[in-house]
Symmetry: C2
Subunit: 142 residues, 2 copies
């Protein structure tokens, strides 16, 4: 039997919203927090979780989301400082076993890794994917 | 011998700037166009190409960049409509052999594919990468 987790996603941008739908699809319970209520419109139809309208930089909203019960916390806002703070609170204060932070600016990666925060950096994934395509092009034309 | 290309990148956001550095590193000649002059500050130190300050939605700047000589055009602005237009101009008007467009909102992918535009969608790459991590977590805890 597959485990069903309680997952908190901080930030409902394109990434947060997409992942919220994916996790719902996998059978997990998901709460998404965003300070812009209109952000929740991006949630896909598969999303079956809850939303909390509030600023994750204010710890009360993480408490409202029952962060102490979470099996996984995803710090996916568009702001690296906020993501760092959420990830640190989740790891160090609440000892959440799975914490992943989006890193917007690849220049901040070293800081996150120094604090042993697992990261996801879409710009590096995209650059890596493009690199492969370009090498294929070069072989074809070479 | 590796081919050296002339590459135009429309949009100097994080992705455009990162890729501009990567292509310079590979020995290609790169021109980056952005309507915000401050955007060029994001270019990494490896970048050895040129910059044009102008709105790629105005075709004159693509002409100024000598689009007719380009071996590759990357439509990497933060606006899907602009990317679509740049990619179409590059493919249909100038017959550039390699055109790739970033797609910001995955909901627009079908349109790009209908027009046979190659796409790069960072949010889908990130969701896919996260999916793998989550499945590994689930196997570990399952």
């Amino acid at each position: 039997m597959k485990p069903s987790w309680y997952v908190i996603i901080a930030g409902c941008g394109r990434l947060g919203a997409n992942v919220a739908g994916m996790l719902s699809n996998m059978g997990h319970s998901v709460v998404v927090i965003d300070r812009k209520e209109s952000a929740f419109e991006a949630l896909p139809i598969e999303f079956t979780g809850f939303t909390i309208h509030g600023d994750v930089a204010a710890i009360e909203f993480l408490r409202e989301a029952k962060i102490h019960q979470a099996n996984m916390v995803l710090a996916f806002t568009n702001d690296d400082n906020t993501n760092f703070m959420v990830a640190q609170i989740a790891q160090r204060v609440y000892h959440i076993p799975r914490v992943i932070s989006r890193v917007y600016d690849a220049g901040n990666l070293a800081l996150f890794h120094e604090f042993k925060i697992k990261t996801l950096t879409p710009v590096l994934l995209a650059t890596g994917a493009l690199n492969k395509v370009i090498h294929r092009y070069m072989e074809e034309s070479g």
